[in-house]
């Protein structure tokens, strides 16, 4: 009987396959030879299976609030995305990404030298003593505020950042804020053209892994925040060009080309993206805006022969929308010696 009691206590560990091989073997031997324990084990297995099939339900807000109050944790904002349990390698990758994003204080004063943090592996987490990051599983609601200047601009891995919020507390200064959830709630503050801030912004715009409304908002925000500034980092325009080229979401592409149109700097890369959009994009609104962007370049004398050829081709193309054709012709009319 004493053996049966001990066995029943180990059932949960047996279910979760947390016993060592020797104990697991002994437990199964006992269950096979003890009808009472076998009944109990089968019942527990069935209950476990049924629990696995139940949908995950969010507890009512009132109960959740009371529970959190009892354990001394402040209420989370309703928009914080719950952390989904993921396979271990993904967890490690994301933890490393958090460290890269949040552990920048260690690197203050060392930004002139390239810093390479491995995207995975516990060792890299331990190497950064100045970043008191708790394991992600225990810090879902924790909020951290980090200065962009203290972050390594190289984002390694592909951290799944969600619930992105932008703010420009004082429009008169150069400081902006970017907040997001990545196993914890992180707020990055810094100058809009700070390399790390620009890289983060580019990452948010390009991250198509999840179809959250974040990218649309990011592009809108970039358009409002960056375009009036003539010193806008070319990386912002490059990120928009990448979105314009690759995004499958037509609304996002429309926003990207719209933002690109107002960018003060136009590199060869963005010009090529505009030409490609005019040539191939199935959405007529994207093509119209691409023509407008190229017309702006034509007026400022920045049009190269590839762009002229594409505009000429569009103006001539019989099956193209007439409005696109006439806009292309108008753009070509702005070319002067």
């Amino acid at each position: 009987m004493a053996e049966c009691s001990a066995m029943k206590e180990s059932f949960p560990l047996l279910l979760t396959e947390s016993l060592d091989a020797q104990t697991r073997e002994a437990s199964h031997l006992h269950i096979e030879n003890c009808a009472k324990c076998a009944d109990e084990w089968n019942g527990m297995k069935e209950a476990w299976r049924l629990m696995g099939e139940l949908p995950e339900l969010e507890p009512p807000a009132r109960i959740k609030q009371r529970f959190l109050a009892e354990i001394g944790v402040a209420e989370q904002k309703t928009n914080v995305v719950p952390f989904h349990r993921r396979p271990a390698f993904k967890w490690l990758s994301q933890a490393a990404a958090v460290v890269i994003l949040a552990g920048g204080s260690y690197f203050v004063g060392h930004r002139s030298q390239p810093i390479h943090v491995q995207p995975t592996g516990v060792a890299s987490v331990e190497r950064i003593p100045a970043a008191p990051i708790q394991p992600a599983a225990f810090s879902i609601a924790e909020t951290r505020t980090i200065d962009a200047a203290n972050i390594n601009p190289n984002i390694e891995g592909r951290p799944d950042i969600q619930n992105v919020q932008f703010s420009d507390v004082d429009p008169n200064d150069d400081q902006i804020q970017l907040a997001f959830d990545v196993t914890q709630h992180v707020t990055v503050t810094g100058a809009r053209n700070d390399k790390s801030m620009v890289r983060l912004m580019a990452y948010v715009m390009e991250n198509e892994d999840r179809m959250s409304p974040t990218r649309s908002r990011a592009i809108d925000w970039v358009r409002q925040t960056y375009t009036p500034d003539k010193s806008t980092s070319p990386e912002i325009a490059q990120a928009l060009a990448k979105v314009l080229r690759n995004d499958t979401h037509e609304g996002v592409r429309i926003k990207a080309v719209d933002a690109l149109k107002t960018m003060p700097t136009t590199s060869g890369d963005t010009r090529e993206a505009l030409i490609a959009a005019l040539k191939n994009d199935p959405n007529p609104a994207v093509r119209i805006k691409a023509v407008d962007a190229l017309a702006k370049l034509a007026a400022s004398g920045q049009l190269d022969s590839a762009a002229v050829d594409m505009l000429r081709q569009k103006a001539m193309q019989d099956d193209e929308n007439v409005y696109v054709r006439t806009r292309a012709a108008e753009a070509l009319g702005k070319i002067h010696p």
Partner: protein, 525 residues
């Protein structure tokens, strides 16, 4: 004291004179002639991005190239740089000769250069000319094939007997010959016009294209047909070579050399309105009188129309402040802006953005391509675009929105909302005072955000079909929804159903590869 003053005055004058001299631009002109052998039937290639090119066919052997190179700069150093960076290269052999102008200046260079060529070749030569910003390209008396291409500047081909291909962006094109053409001729310009003058007895298979321009001729044109922007007809009689003339934004003239300008008539008018008696005299076209006609789309602009406004045009922008009555607008392409319309409003555009302000009556607006912005659709209506953002700030009645690709945004809706887009996000905010209203939203790729008041009641049926197994699913600020996940056609299907506020009108939300958020107004996220 007088002497020093005199000296100082003279010094000042001298300095001023020197400064004036220094400030004056300097230039350098270089002229030279080169002769090369070229076989009869040989080929001449000329590339000159910055100057005029004249090629004349003659009965003499060989090529004679006369070059005038001019460099202008604000001072000597720049002049020297300009001379070095503007090079004339000549090469090839007796079968093929190449003449090139190479300019290596940056856009910021202070100097400007121009290289003009006058080239004499045997008449049977094949001539290929690529220009760019030169004043003109002129080819005369050639029996071989001629091709010419440029961006700006006139192109004139006179007395060419061989096949011709001309392509210009902003230049007018003149093709003139006393003879009856026997080879195909293809002339294309985007913003220029085209003038063709041939022998009055020529037989031609004429195809002319233009979006904004007209096709005019004083030759006998048999059974002309016009489809969209293209006209096709037989000149005089069948059996002639093809003449393809495309002037996207300009006019096309096909004239009898030496014919009467008073007999020139519009083919479009004749085809579209055959009942109009007699040819319409147009005293415009005669040899060499085509003007640069880089047209822009006509804009119909009025601050106020006191009554109904009905207008249909093939191409036109509209900018009207207020229409006191109904509005009915159709345009082949163009932008439409209407400030206020006190009656019903119907807008149809084959392409171009629509911006509509305060619309009192029923609204029906469609564009094949471009954005639609409506500030106030008091009675609701129906809006659609082939692609572009569709944005309604206020809809006072039921509104139906269809988008071929792009986002749909409704800032405040009082009536029912029906919205669908092929690819884009849909964000709909219902009036906060509403207790219930029907909403149906569908996007094949994108997110849906429905924002409703705290007292809103409805029966919710929200479905997400996604390839992302970890999709966050339906997020709601309201209790009462049951969420189920299953697999459908190999995809994950998340479906949220239930009643909010005790139930009411049906809200149907459907997205593929996106998220659905049902948010409560006033709740901070």
């Amino acid at each position: 004291m007088k002497v020093p003053i005199r000296i100082s005055s003279m010094t000042a004058i001298a300095l001023f004179a020197c400064a004036s001299l220094l400030a004056a631009p300097v230039s350098h002109t270089e002229r030279f002639v080169r002769d090369f052998p070229l076989d009869a039937g040989g080929t001449l290639w000329i590339e000159d991005p910055i100057g005029a090119v004249d090629v004349v066919g003659s009965d003499q052997d060989g090529v004679s190239v006369s070059v005038v190179k001019v460099v202008v700069a604000p001072e000597g150093t720049s002049l020297k740089e300009g001379r070095e960076q503007t090079q004339v290269l000549m090469g090839g052999d007796a079968k093929s000769r190449l003449i090139r102008t190479v300019v290596n200046g940056s856009p910021a260079a202070k100097w400007k250069s121009n290289v003009a060529y006058v080239v004499r070749v045997p008449r049977a030569t094949t001539v290929h000319i690529t220009g760019q910003m030169g004043e003109h390209i002129k080819v005369t008396n050639i029996a071989g094939t001629v091709t010419a291409k440029n961006t700006n500047g006139e192109i004139t081909l006179d007395s060419i007997d061989g096949p011709v291909t001309v392509d210009s962006v902003n230049g007018n094109i003149h093709f003139l010959t006393e003879a009856r053409p026997s080879d195909p001729v293809q002339l294309t310009t985007v913003n220029g016009s085209i003038e063709v003058q041939v022998n009055g007895d020529s037989n031609l298979d004429w195809i002319a294209q233009s979006i904004t321009g007209d096709f005019k001729t004083n030759l006998a044109l048999r059974s002309p047909r016009i489809a969209l922007n293209t006209m096709r007809g037989i000149v005089n009689g069948p059996g002639g070579p093809s003449l393809v003339t495309t002037a996207v934004m300009g006019d096309v003239f096909l004239l009898s050399r030496g014919g009467s300008p008073n007999e020139i008539r519009s083919v479009k008018m004749a085809v579209v309105r055959p009942a109009v008696p007699g040819p319409q005299a147009t005293p415009v076209a005669s040899l060499g009188v085509l003007q640069q006609q880089a047209r822009v789309i006509e804009t119909i602009e009025q601050p106020l129309v006191n009554g109904p406004f009905m207008y249909a045009t093939k191409l036109g922008n509209f900018r009207i402040g207020e229409i006191r009555g109904l509005a009915s607008i159709q345009t082949g392409a163009g932008q439409v802006y209407l400030g206020t319309v006190t009656g019903n409003c119907s807008v149809r555009s084959m392409g171009g953005p629509l911006e509509l302000g305060d619309i009192y009556g029923d609204l029906n607006a469609h564009t094949e391509a471009g954005e639609i912005l409506v500030r106030n659709a008091r009675k609701g209506g129906e809006l659609s675009t082939g692609g572009g953002t569709l944005h309604v700030i206020y809809a006072g009645g039921a509104i139906s929105l269809h988008n071929g690709g792009g986002d749909i945004i409704v800032n405040q809706a009082v009536g029912a909302v029906e919205a669908d887009t092929r690819s884009g996000d849909v964000m709909v905010t219902m009036d906060p005072r509403l207790h219930t209203q029907h909403v149906s939203v569908k996007t094949t790729k994108g997110n849906i955000v429905l924002n409703i008041g705290g007292r809103f009641a409805a029966d919710i049926d929200a479905t997400i079909l996604t390839t992302d197994e970890e999709a966050a699913g339906v997020r709601s600020d309201f209790n009462g929804l049951t969420i189920k996940r299953d697999t459908f056609n190999g995809k994950t299907r998340v479906r949220a159903t239930g009643k909010i506020g005790g139930g009411g009108e049906k809200i149907e939300l459907y997205t593929e590869d996106g998220e659905i958020q049902i948010t409560q107004q006033g709740v901070t996220h």
